[in-house]
């Protein structure tokens, strides 16, 4: 896991639900390559095409509320977004995204502090968020050791695979 991420901000509002992140009609898709094409299709059909690799998504409260569909986290994980910073996250989405190795940063008040198109840097471990000129914009809640451990392994799957492998020997 890269600790320091620099990217351009794309902004969304509050209560961005899983139907907006990944509409139900695409749930039968199973490959990440297909799934990522429909990321945020409930916000706008062509959203996937607007994301450039390394962009950072900034959203309001309760991001990912709604369904347990892991497709929502998968779509975002493979969309090009390096991380998501939100004022708060819904719990199943939070688990799903961390499990897939997508850094989620909780930062109350962030929506009012960054602009669409602005370049920011996020330090995952400390939660420090800085502007292009180095000025500190905000300090996010630090991730728990439990979540950091999962992210450092690139997600829960590699972590569990390693554990399973160990037990087998």
């Amino acid at each position: 896991m890269q600790d320091k991420l620099t990217g351009t901000v794309m902004k969304l509002g509050k209560n961005i639900d899983t139907d907006q992140i990944y509409p139900g009609r695409f749930l039968e898709l199973t490959d990440a390559e297909d799934i990522r094409r429909h990321v945020l299709a409930g916000v706008s059909e062509d959203y996937a095409g607007k994301i450039r690799k390394g962009d950072i998504l900034v959203a309001g409260t309760n991001f990912g509320c709604g369904s347990s569909r892991e497709h929502a986290a998968t779509a975002l994980r493979f969309s090009g977004f390096a991380a998501i910073i939100a004022e708060s996250f819904a719990r199943i989405f939070y688990r799903n995204a961390i499990n897939l190795g997508l850094p989620l940063i909780i930062c109350p008040g962030i929506s009012g502090k960054v602009q669409e198109g602005e370049v920011i840097t996020v330090e995952i471990r400390t939660g420090k968020i800085t502007a292009a000129d180095g000025r500190e914009i905000a300090r996010a809640e630090p991730l728990s050791d439990y979540m950091l451990n999962i992210l450092e392994h690139g997600g829960i799957k590699p972590l569990l695979a390693a554990e399973m492998e160990q037990k087998a020997h």
Partner: protein, 417 residues
């Protein structure tokens, strides 16, 4: 400790747990639904080969029942193969219905159980004193591989419901009122417990609707302390061992709220968020194209019976269609035996076989751009039931039935016998 904490402590093999602690719990019932073939994929990706406890896994082919595209059919086929290969005998195929109600109907839910299903509305099981919560596919793969999952011990918010409900006001109206007051993210990561005379007066069906909808305020789980009503249901239905646990008198809640719901009338959540709740009067007369009764929220026998009471010897408006989806096979059969289903069909309802159907916008009644629907389901997010340019109102089954009659959003009270 709270009863919910005692459940987690027991499943983690610990004497006690504290709020915020992360515990590794053995899962009593692990339910997988047909939307998430990723469960099987993640299972393989983590290097697992055998389901740790096939007798504690249950497969629900409910969201795509029956399949309407080749892709859906293929996902269901792969799930059936996985279960056959893994010796999972509890396969609830497309003839069974919606996971949460199927689990209750089949007696798999009881007090003290830790139930995890790949469905966000697993909070429903708190109505029977269980700890129910939803997870995604990869978490479920972990459970299948190890029999266990890490859970954070949640803070508990206690909501007291006081007063006497007016005619025409049901559990769905009460929970919409609560969500409207508190907001869609009020209980994120937390557990919600309901107490008070209104809860005591609710049937198990209404309690399930109440607990089910706590998902829409972000709750991790919901809980109602088992009482005589619960135990009468449990003695009749529950077929697995269970244990009633109780909260210690000195337990400190994260918050204690109370609502006097005597004054409220029927409520609707207007487009497009569940906390956009208003008294029905503010939207009465808004024309609707579709009315929908069904799902794990509003598709139980009591819901259909209330709707049939309103629609008996009447016809729905010619400009409106009414879709009725009994939650399970049992609801359908009981509804047929009681004459409820024929009444609904004679009034003009379109009957869909038990499943999640259009609740999540995959099939069986999705909406065109510009259409308006009032539904007894749980979410009115943009695009939830089809087109992003359709509008969804949430209400009780009674409100939906009355609205189908008038072809416009309507208060059910005048139609009650």
């Amino acid at each position: 400790m709270h009863a919910l904490e005692k459940i987690l402590a027991k499943k983690a093999g610990k004497a006690s747990v504290t709020t915020g602690e992360i515990v590794d719990c053995e899962i009593d019932l692990a339910g997988v639904n047909d939307l998430y073939l990723q469960t099987v994929r993640s299972f393989a990706e983590i290097g697992a080969t055998q389901v740790r406890a096939p007798e504690r896994m249950i497969m629900f082919l409910d969201h795509y029942a029956p399949a309407s595209t080749v892709g859906q059919a293929d996902n269901q086929k792969k799930f059936r193969e996985f279960c056959r290969l893994q010796g999972v005998s509890q396969v609830m195929d497309i003839n069974e219905g919606v996971c949460h109600q199927v689990a209750a109907d089949r007696g798999l839910v009881g007090p003290g159980k830790l139930i995890i299903i790949t469905d966000s509305h697993s909070t429903t099981h708190g109505a029977l004193g269980a700890f129910g919560t939803g997870v995604g596919a990869t978490d479920m793969a972990t459970i299948l591989a190890t029999g266990r999952l890490w859970l954070r011990v949640p803070e508990v918010i206690r909501i007291r419901l006081d007063g006497t409900l007016k005619r025409g006001v049901y559990a769905k109206d009460v929970i919409l009122h609560v969500i409207g007051s508190l907001g869609a993210d009020y209980a994120v990561y937390k557990a919600v417990e309901f107490i008070g005379p209104v809860v005591a007066g609710f049937s198990v069906s209404e309690r399930m609707a109440l607990c089910n909808m706590t998902t829409e305020m972000g709750a991790k789980t919901a809980y109602i302390q088992p009482d005589d009503v619960t135990m009468a249901y449990v003695r009749e239905h529950t077929k697995v061992p269970y244990e009633v646990v109780e909260t210690d008198p000195d337990f400190t809640y994260a918050e204690e709220l109370s609502f006097d719901v005597s004054g409220i009338g029927p409520q609707v959540a207007a487009p497009s968020s569940v906390d956009n709740v208003h008294p029905i009067g503010e939207y009465a007369g808004v024309k609707i194209d579709q009315a929908y009764i069904g799902s794990c929220t509003g598709g139980r026998l009591e819901d259909l019976t209330i709707a049939a009471g309103i629609l008996k010897n009447r016809k729905i408006a010619p400009t409106t269609r009414l879709i009725v989806v009994p939650a399970t096979k049992k609801v359908l059969l009981d509804g047929m035996a009681a004459g409820v289903i024929p009444t609904l069909i004679e009034a003009g309802a379109t009957l869909v076989t038990p499943s999640c159907a259009a609740c999540l916008g995959t099939h069986e009644g999705i909406l065109a751009p510009g259409e308006v629907c009032i539904t007894a389901t749980n979410r009115n997010f943009p695009g939830r039931m089809g087109s992003r340019d359709a509008s969804l109102f949430l209400g009780s089954p009674a409100t939906v039935a009355a609205s189908a009659l008038e072809g416009a959003i309507a208060d059910p009270t005048p139609y009650l016998a």
